[in-house]
């Protein structure tokens, strides 16, 4: 059984088809990358899987259970966590409190009994992404790169079985990109059964981490395979470069 199985998923808005009959799967322990030009429907896909949108047709099966149409917080509590392309911190809360919120959810608070306080657990989470220095700082004062890491810490706080990252490298400089790559790898090693899906534009960063790549264009899956294969795939190159040279 696949960890995540998407079958014939479709979603339209008015006349615009954002996701068209998409099928793919993610297994336990896999890191899968999703790439494609802007507007290809990648974020819509995330919304569909994480419950923020209801599909017009098709199914989304998580651990065998169809989760399409279930409320977002319930999906989180089943074990899927996601980040947002544009960071959404809780501006008026300090960094540590941002993570504490996630720990207040039913799934996040599972492990807390033996740790005793969510604050301690929150510090652990922040450690994973290297944000402990900033923990008392109100989120509105924190820089973009750190906010990206905060998003991830928050998602990790719910101990997901499937982690979905929406453009985690967006707006990061090379140093930050490097650090984040290492963080993701470490997170993967810490929980080998956890599946990770990453939507990203920065191909060089992505290709280093993922085992498998799915390519989207205009709402449809147009290619799938190992990073090296995809890089040579003619259709993919065309789609990214525009018309063939």
């Amino acid at each position: 059984m696949h960890l995540l199985e998407v079958e014939n998923l479709s979603k339209s808005f008015g006349g615009l088809t954002a996701v068209n009959n998409v099928s793919f799967h993610v297994d336990e322990g896999e890191i899968v990358g999703i790439i494609g030009p802007n507007g290809a429907g990648k974020t819509t896909l995330f919304h569909l899987i994480s419950g923020f949108l209801n599909p017009d047709s098709g199914t989304v099966k998580f651990k065998g259970e169809n989760i399409a149409g279930i409320a977002p917080h319930k999906i989180v509590n089943k074990g899927i966590a996601r980040t947002f392309q544009v960071v959404r911190p809780f501006r008026h809360l300090p960094v540590i409190a941002n993570v504490m919120v996630a720990l207040k959810s039913p799934r996040g608070s599972r492990k807390i009994e033996w740790i005793k306080t969510s604050q301690r657990k929150a510090v652990d989470m922040l450690e994973n992404v290297g944000l402990t220095e900033l923990m008392l700082e109100p989120a509105e004062n924190v820089g973009h790169g750190d906010l990206k890491r905060l998003e991830m810490a928050r998602a990790l706080a719910t101990e997901p079985d499937l982690l979905m990252l929406d453009e985690p490298f967006g707006g990061l400089n090379p140093l930050e990109t490097d650090f984040l790559t290492k963080s993701i790898q470490r997170i993967h090693l810490d929980h080998p059964t956890r599946g990770i899906v990453i939507v990203e534009h920065k191909l060089y960063a992505l290709m280093k981490i993922v085992k498998r790549v799915i390519v989207f264009h205009q709402g449809e899956k147009i290619a799938e395979g190992k990073p090296e294969e995809i890089a040579k795939n003619k259709k993919v190159i065309e789609v990214y470069m525009g018309k063939a040279m």
């Binding site: 917080h73 989180v76 959404r88 604050q119």
Partner: protein, 361 residues
């Protein structure tokens, strides 16, 4: 001796919780001031004013919990106020029950109404929510008029008993003052504890970014309803107590003006703080009754002008400072306090974390 030990513990707990933090200390001192104020031998009129101020403060704080902490803009909070008053009045008029029974009985009714009002409000966003909440006091008013044989219709219900019928008339004012002050204190503490607990953190997260809150596994609807209910309970209590202070319940308690008072008061005092609405409510009540009466004799027509002036001031204030005038001051105090709060616990965690790190290295 055992009691000395307990006294010391209470004192220590007090010291860390209250004395340490400037804002809380100020609030505590103010509270002491209010308790001992009657020493100055004020007139019954002034005591009544302050009693009403206490109730207004409870009402305003209940509203602020809703709007300041979750952003659910209720423009019909008067429905709870009037509901509390009518429930207790009806129970007395038709069943002869005394206040100390009817007021607790008004609480479950308040919860029910909070659920009725809150539930549709949650399915919709921003302005729609305000529209719905605005509608409910009007619906209740209509129902009250329709059943006028039972509810007294436009005249309302008169002759409600005092809380302290066993006291001589003059002393009742003092007793009522302290009673409402106690209620205010309890409400304040409860709401404060809620707002500054982990639940409070979740509420702020909902206010800041509801989507991200959901994405963090929070059942936003549950929290909103919960806050609605708590807010409703306090507002209902304020209304039912006021009915016995003024000895009357009428549909004037359900007017848009009443719904608007916490708005005025909170904007003046600062949305989202605890002290803001309390200070604002006192200010408004004193201005209304005492100052204007004493310092300026107002021609009778100008009774209408009062509300007009307040509303005008609010308009100006909102344009200049959308989150509240006193917010500047209270913001600074709160920042200090929050930093110290998180710092109190945070610094302990920080130390433990550093020790852990050193061990590993």
């Amino acid at each position: 001796m055992v009691s000395a030990y307990f006294l010391k513990r209470i004192y220590l707990s007090f010291a860390t919780h209250v004395f340490d933090v400037p804002a809380r200390l100020a609030a505590f001192l103010l509270f002491l001031l209010l308790i001992f104020f009657p020493v100055t031998n004020p007139t019954s009129q002034i005591l009544l004013l302050l009693t009403l101020a206490n109730l207004g403060a409870i009402f305003a704080v209940s509203w602020d919990l809703l709007v300041g902490r979750t952003g659910l803009m209720s423009l019909g909070h008067a429905v709870f106020f009037g509901l509390g008053a009518y429930v207790t009045a009806l129970l007395f008029v038709h069943l002869g029950l005394p206040p100390y029974i009817t007021i607790p009985l008004s609480i479950p009714v308040g919860v029910l109404v909070a659920l009725i009002v809150g539930f549709p409000s949650l399915r919709v966003k921003g302005p729609y929510l305000s529209l719905i909440s605005f509608a409910f006091p009007l619906i209740l008013t209509g129902i009250i008029y329709y059943f006028k044989e039972y509810t007294g219709g436009e005249r309302g219900l008169y002759g409600l008993p005092s809380f302290f019928p066993f006291l001589p008339y003059k002393d009742q004012f003092l007793a009522e003052y302290w009673f409402t002050l106690l209620l205010l204190f309890i409400s304040g503490v409860i709401i404060y504890r809620i707002a500054n607990s982990e639940t409070g953190i979740v509420l702020v997260s909902i206010l800041d970014d509801e989507l991200a809150s959901k994405a963090s596994g929070i059942n936003v609807t549950k929290y909103k309803i919960m806050t609605f209910v708590i807010s409703g309970i306090f507002a209902t209590i304020a209304g039912s107590v006021q009915a016995h202070i003024l000895r009357v319940a009428n549909t004037g308690m359900l007017e848009a003006t009443i719904s608007f008072i916490p708005v005025i008061v909170t904007i003046f005092g600062g949305i989202g703080t605890l002290y803001g609405p309390i200070v604002g409510a006192y200010f408004l009540q004193l201005l209304d009754g005492y100052v204007l009466g004493r310092i300026i004799t107002i021609p009778p027509d100008w009774v209408y002008a009062k509300m007009l002036v307040y509303a005008l001031i609010i308009i100006i204030l909102i344009i200049l400072w959308p989150r509240g005038v006193a917010r500047f001051v209270t913001d600074k105090l709160e920042d200090l306090e929050e930093a110290r709060d998180i710092d109190e616990r945070g610094s302990k965690i920080w130390k433990k974390y550093k020790k852990k790190k050193e061990k590993v290295v």
